[in-house]
Symmetry: C2
């Protein structure tokens, strides 16, 4: 490559209706242009505090250890697991898609021993099987569930499992990467011990950070570890010494991304959680109605469908790659295809945060009709 | 905190002359406002490739595995260590400041056994002691050195140690967090096996990413590991499957920060490495001359002083906190104080990337004179 030929950055102005990232409000971009200050500047501390308070509002939690980790969603999952799992710890993992499968990989890298609870991709997890497995393994350190499976569009209810875990010593660990900010994620009400997400889906900030929250029960487990957490970068307690009252340097924070997140959270607060969830529900319903009217079959089981991510099966004779490419090239719309073992078989449409609008649904449906006509 | 009182983000327009972050060129901000596209959009791949090519130019390397990790400088260090260190591996760590001390923490969390080579803070490491220690421990997996110690302003030459390591099976791991982009870091020429940095110092992009490069010798070590790397997020080989030709999803990349980094690297290429290094050297010399004229004593030993970070001892009767606070509040200038065991005893002035200008030196010196008069 000739370096001198690397020109000014030019990117298309996509309508982001894939599985994430979503578009963000111009206010978020404006916040990013605020002058950079240091992670140790006295001015940064109120900004950190405000970001944490807004995150607590969004997570519906009073948890003291609530912060955005300096990495994307995957770093959030790894932070959850690596802070609590030690060599030989038992972990029950509920599996019904690509992202829950990946949790196994992360837990095993921490030395955890995984007990699988499988559901068919497209179906929610059987709650009774969870309770049975947990009863049979009372020494289980964590139970990991994926609230919304981005790979299939399936929503798994959490409340009952949380209630069950709360009566045991097991920590309830929840992946809320696609759901947080788009539907109810009631951390305290549902007895979730560790909940993590990403900034680039229903929060509508750029990808860069992973909001996470730890209950006191989780913190107690971390404080009673026999061995040190195997990473310094993802050590939540050490990092809280910077985000919390101590103001002790841990690592250089991604300040501009914190500016963006704070503004995205302000926008969420202004809209109000219930209004925001209702918007996601209604706009998603509009999309689902139009897609089924066009003959597409919704992939996720009825009653367990995510509002922010709709997966439909491709009828015979239609090419996933062709539809996705045409939408991108001719309409500037991004949607996703099948992921993992569903590659080539699905279309996945995200309606997340700022991207979740009737305008986008109508444009997408019109574009799809033109392409398929 | 009343959430409704959290207002629009307003930050001071600081002149960043601390130990990092530095200010960035307005062109970098402009790049950040380019529309967000997805980490899987076909348009992103040339952008990733260009960023990697520009990083190779900066690192002076042909290493195939060269990329910015999705975390700040500390994540870079952790990526270096966690990818190669397994339980019980020997690591020689050269120590002469806060950041090299921290490397021990990270290596031990990976299960490594550390052999320390200490130098007094403010002094470089004794090269002969390194050679002796390495000869006495031929089974050493890595030798870790900090090119520039941000906590003391000391520069440790690397070339001779690199030559020595290249004749052994030991990997030469270098922290170039403050030095990359501000002085010569010749990865291939100096036989460095793993070299990591951060975006927010002499590269003058926002803090968010950690450029890193691995030699073939390092990759061979990683590929011959007995156990899996303990983190998925920092697994360089897995991540290269996204950054490299395979285009396989690993995690959602921090796209906007990649836009910023690419533009910062373009600016470096346009200036030219030798011109850029010369500017850092000259502007730093101007600062050092003025500070010593004012009666300050340079902390780092002569002949081993970093251009981009100058530490001076505080004369009796002057308060570190007072000077730093006045500079910040009355002049909008950030500089750093002593770090770790040097807290309260030093002023640390960074002249990094875009912040490294004669204009900034003259303003700082004038401000210091006013404060001390």
């Amino acid at each position: 490559m000739e370096l001198k030929k690397i020109g000014e950055l030019i990117t298309s102005n996509r309508i982001l209706l894939g599985p994430g990232p979503s578009n963000y409000d111009p206010r978020v971009m404006k916040a990013m242009t605020s002058p950079l200050i240091s992670h140790l500047d006295p001015e940064i501390y109120p900004i950190l505090d405000e970001t944490v308070e807004l995150l607590k509002y969004l997570f519906k939690t009073k948890n003291e250890v609530t912060l955005p980790m300096s990495g994307t969603g995957t770093a959030g999952g790894e932070t959850a697991f690596t802070n609590v799992i030690e060599q030989g710890d038992k972990a029950i993992v509920c599996l019904n898609g690509f992202f829950s499968e990946r949790n196994i990989e992360m837990i095993e890298r921490c030395g955890g021993e995984v007990i699988r609870i499988d559901a068919e991709w497209g179906k929610p997890i059987d709650i009774e099987e969870i309770e049975r497995t947990l009863k049979a393994n009372p020494d289980t350190k964590i139970l990991s569930m994926t609230h919304g499976e981005t790979s299939t569009g399936v929503l798994t209810p959490l409340e009952e499992v949380g209630k069950f875990c709360s009566q045991t010593s097991t920590l309830f660990v929840v992946d809320a990467v696609p759901t947080l900010g788009g539907m109810d994620v009631d951390v305290d009400g549902w007895n979730i011990d560790i909940c993590y997400s990403g900034t680039q889906k229903c929060l509508s900030a750029p990808p860069a950070m992973a909001p996470i929250t730890f209950s006191q029960k989780a913190i107690d487990v971390i404080k009673n570890r026999k061995t040190k957490i195997q990473t310094l970068y993802l050590d939540a307690i050490e990092l809280m010494r910077h985000w919390g009252k101590e103001r002790k340097y841990h690592h250089t924070l991604p300040i501009i991304m914190i500016y963006a997140l704070r503004e995205a959270l302000r926008i969420i607060y202004e809209e109000g959680l219930e209004e925001r969830f209702k918007r996601h529900e209604e706009v998603s319903q509009l999309l689902k109605t139009h897609l089924t009217d066009m003959g597409f079959k919704l992939f996720a089981q009825e009653g367990y469908r995510l509002p922010m991510l709709t997966a439909v099966e491709l009828p015979e004779g239609l090419s996933e790659r062709e539809i996705i490419t045409k939408l991108l090239k001719e309409y500037n719309i991004e949607i996703g295809g099948g992921f993992g073992k569903l590659a080539g078989k699905l279309l996945r449409v995200g309606l997340m945060g700022y991207s979740c609008s009737k305008q986008n649904v109508y444009y997408l449906i019109s574009a799809l009709k033109e392409i398929m006509s």
